[in-house]
């Protein structure tokens, strides 16, 4: 049993009822977009109807760069390959200012990436529940230290040294969608120096 605030993810699935589709991915998440693009093409053939405009926003990562395959997958799909997270977020803002009723968002990537996109979408009035989310590649967690509020964007271990305050902090399952982070808390407060074995649990 996990904590109720811990987000759930599922495979992206093309939504034939949407009037417009915005597809976002980072690194290995590109595979999930290729799958949705396949489903969209199949839907177009089967339903013999246009599926509404598609936008693809992609951010290559050290883990994977699928930009060539995404670009060549379908003609008529507006594909943006962003140089960095900030570039992708501003491209997303641009797309969403032209969004219409029935727009669907599909996001695939690390948890930090997924929630950064959800939060940009939320600013423009898109409800969390209108965004499909799939976690791909690394299980690294974006984590905020509850003591000094410093965020480490990619924590892979159960316990880490906070880059803000230097405490050994333990990563909880408690998750804030507003901040897009898990919470970490001092692990040896009750017995200073007694730090449990550090293990890679979010590889």
């Amino acid at each position: 049993m996990g904590i109720k605030s811990k987000p759930e993810y599922r495979e992206l699935e093309f939504d034939g009822n949407a009037t417009r589709h915005v597809l976002l991915a980072e690194g290995p998440g590109g595979d999930a977009l290729l799958r949705v693009l396949d489903q969209a093409a199949r839907h177009g053939r089967d339903a013999d109807a246009a599926c509404g405009p598609l936008d693809v926003l992609y951010l290559p990562s050290a883990e994977a760069d699928l930009s060539a395959r995404l670009r060549s997958h379908a003609s008529g799909v507006d594909t943006v390959v962003a140089p960095d997270r900030r570039g992708l977020e501003s491209a997303l803002r641009r797309v969403l200012t032209q969004a219409v009723m029935g727009t669907r968002l599909y996001v695939a990537g690390s948890e930090a990436f997924v929630w950064a996109c959800v939060n940009v979408a939320r600013e423009t009035g898109v409800d969390d529940d209108e965004v499909q989310r799939e976690r791909c590649g690394t299980l690294a967690r974006p984590v905020q230290c509850v003591h000094c509020k410093a965020v480490d964007p990619a924590v892979t271990t159960n316990v880490y040294v906070c880059p803000g305050c230097g405490l050994h902090v333990f990563v909880r399952d408690h998750f804030s969608r507003r901040l897009g982070v898990y919470q970490s808390v001092c692990v040896d407060a009750e017995a200073p120096g007694e730090v449990p074995a550090i293990e890679e649990v979010y590889p």
Binding site: M1, I3, K4, S5, K6, Q144, V146, H147, K149, L167, R172, D173, H174, F175, S176, R177, R178, L179, Q183, V185, C186, A189, E190, A191, P192
Partner: protein
């Protein structure tokens, strides 16, 4: 709110501390009116909600918002916490209507329950608020935030004991849309802000599986204006420390290791939250009041029934709950202390002293 002033004019002590030298203590009168949370000799979660209706007269439950001998101390502690960490008070921008609702509810309630200490004069939208305990007198225009020195929610909750949270209601769900949280039992407003009802209760063990939160939410969604409700919650704390926040856990966590058989009576405290819930009239939001009371084992043992009962409750509490409530490490020491007062005699029903 109550029909008559049920607590005429509580004697208010000079400022005592909830940190450092911990000078806080309860007078015999404060002990007698402590909201002891156990109505039987055992404890399990339940949706133990009852009307917050001004009863029983003279008790801590009777006033809309209980003001007691610790008023000045708690307001001073709140100022200290906010100076160190201003994010302990946050309200999301669309909650301004609920901020005014809160201010109105608290001012009218305090003026009715404690006329010696507080008064409110309304001349149309021009209101004059007087708080003689804190030596405050302000005239302002209702619903014009520029006429107050602080936003309305922060202004008034700096003058009322207890933590407070604001909950917007949308699509049959409640959200954590604001709060003044400086004396909490280990949860972070800054982190939980914006969460839905299930998310912010995420870390609580067992209760989700028992369906407690589903029933509680369903009940709260239908809460009516003018019919507030209340419940009690409890935990154990070392030292009379109000600010047991996760933010400062790295500083207070060590306290748990300081309990010994010699000091347990003085250091171990039962911490009770008298929680009341109010539907606000204009915003349709819910105001959640979490009024915290602390009593040392020594003080508690002056009421024989409470010492007997607390011994039995703590002894029989399941491990995971003792762990969640943060006292699994010093439970044996507390039990040894309380066992001396438990002669095996039967206890009377209800929480009040015999």
């Amino acid at each position: 709110m109550s029909e008559q002033a049920t607590v005429a004019a509580p004697r208010v002590k000079p400022v005592e501390t909830f940190r450092g030298d911990f000078t806080y203590s309860n007078s015999p009168e404060a002990i007698r009116r402590f909201p002891f949370p156990f109505h039987r000799d055992d404890y399990m979660y339940s949706v133990n909600i009852e009307p917050h209706d001004g009863t029983p007269p003279g008790s801590a439950y009777a006033p809309a918002f209980d003001i007691d001998e610790h008023y000045l101390s708690e307001m001073a502690e709140r100022r200290t916490v906010l100076e160190e960490d201003p994010k302990r008070c946050q309200v999301l921008p669309y909650m301004m209507e609920a901020q005014w609702d809160t201010l109105e509810l608290m001012m009218t309630s305090l003026a009715a329950d404690y006329p010696e200490h507080f008064s409110l004069t309304c001349d149309g939208d021009t209101w004059t608020w007087e708080n003689r305990l804190l030596d405050i007198r302000d005239t302002f225009t209702f619903k014009d935030a520029d006429t107050l020195p602080l936003e309305p929610f922060e202004y008034i909750t700096r003058q009322v004991q207890g933590d407070f949270t604001l909950h917007g209601q949308r699509n049959d769900m409640l959200y954590m849309d604001g709060g003044m949280v400086t004396c909490q039992a280990d949860w972070s407003l800054d982190f939980d802000l914006g969460m839905n009802f299930y998310e912010w209760h995420g870390p609580v063990p067992r209760a989700h599986e028992m369906g407690v939160f589903e029933r509680a939410l369903k009940y709260l969604l239908t809460l009516k204006v003018g019919s507030p409700v209340r419940r009690l919650n409890w935990t154990m704390t070392v030292n009379p420390r109000m600010d047991t926040s996760p933010e400062n856990y790295d500083k207070w966590g060590i306290d748990r290791a300081t309990i010994t058989p010699d000091n347990v009576g003085e250091l171990a405290h039962l911490r009770v939250e008298l929680q009341s819930l109010w539907r606000l009239p204009r915003s349709n939001a819910i105001l959640f009041s979490i009024r915290c009371y602390l009593i040392s084992m020594e003080e508690l043992a002056t009421v024989p029934k409470w010492a007997r009962r607390l011994h039995r409750v703590l002894r029989d509490l399941p491990e995971d709950l003792a762990d969640y409530k943060g006292f699994i490490g010093f439970r044996p020491t507390v039990l040894d202390y309380l066992a001396r007062y438990d002669d095996g005699a039967a206890t009377s029903p209800g929480g009040a002293p015999d």
